[in-house]
Amino acid sequence: PRKEELISHLKAGKNYLRNQDPAKAFEEFKASLEIAQQLKDPIEEKKAARGLGASLQRQGKYREAIKYHSMVLATSERVGEDSGNTEAYGAIADCYTELGDLERAGEFYDKYIARLEKD
């Protein structure tokens, strides 16, 4: 039941993103992140964090977006399961590019590129 609630927030968030409403998407992903943390469900936690990052990017809030994308990496590290890391490296690099920090962007793109051939 809690898990279902979590899933439905994630779905709603994705829909808002698709319909160009990143502010509402942010709220949905925020709610799903809280539930995922309570349930100690790292996979869903990463999905929520990725959604939060994407929502902030769409609003031009690149610094905050980096925080959430980095949370994906930290969660992967913690649980020893790296799904979502390729996308997170790419997204963080995109944010640094937008902020004009091409040096940092390049470092994250290198990590992203190194993972492209894996599954």
């Binding site: 698709r18 390729t86 790419g90 690099a93 995109d94 590019t97 937008e98 091409l102 040096e103 962007a105 390049g106 793109y109 290198d110 992203y112 590129i113 993972r115 492209l116 051939e117 599954d119």
Partner: protein, 88 residues
């Protein structure tokens, strides 16, 4: 470093194609797609995208030791910008 924005633009271009085709695919598959199927299809779309991008992305970076020359990297960048119409 001049090539960094091109990496971002190329990523965004291909991601746009991926998401559009994925939604078309899900809408053709009807309602009630099993979660396992959905995940396999998402992985498929990412797999194709990542493997196709790998070569071009590598050839837009030029910092390592065994690396192509700067001029070659810039030529790659110009070609990619032209071919994918990525001028910002």
């Amino acid at each position: 470093l001049e090539t960094v924005p091109t990496i971002k633009n190329l990523r965004a271009f291909v991601e746009g194609i991926r998401v559009a085709e994925l939604e078309k695919c899900f809408s053709r598959m009807g309602d009630d797609i099993p979660a396992k199927t959905k995940k396999a299809v998402e992985n498929l779309s990412r797999g194709i995208m990542n493997k196709v991008l790998h070569g071009p992305m590598q050839h837009l970076r030029c910092d390592g030791s065994d690396c192509r020359t700067l001029s070659e990297t810039l030529e790659n960048m110009h070609a990619i910008n032209r071919m994918f119409d990525l001028e910002t």
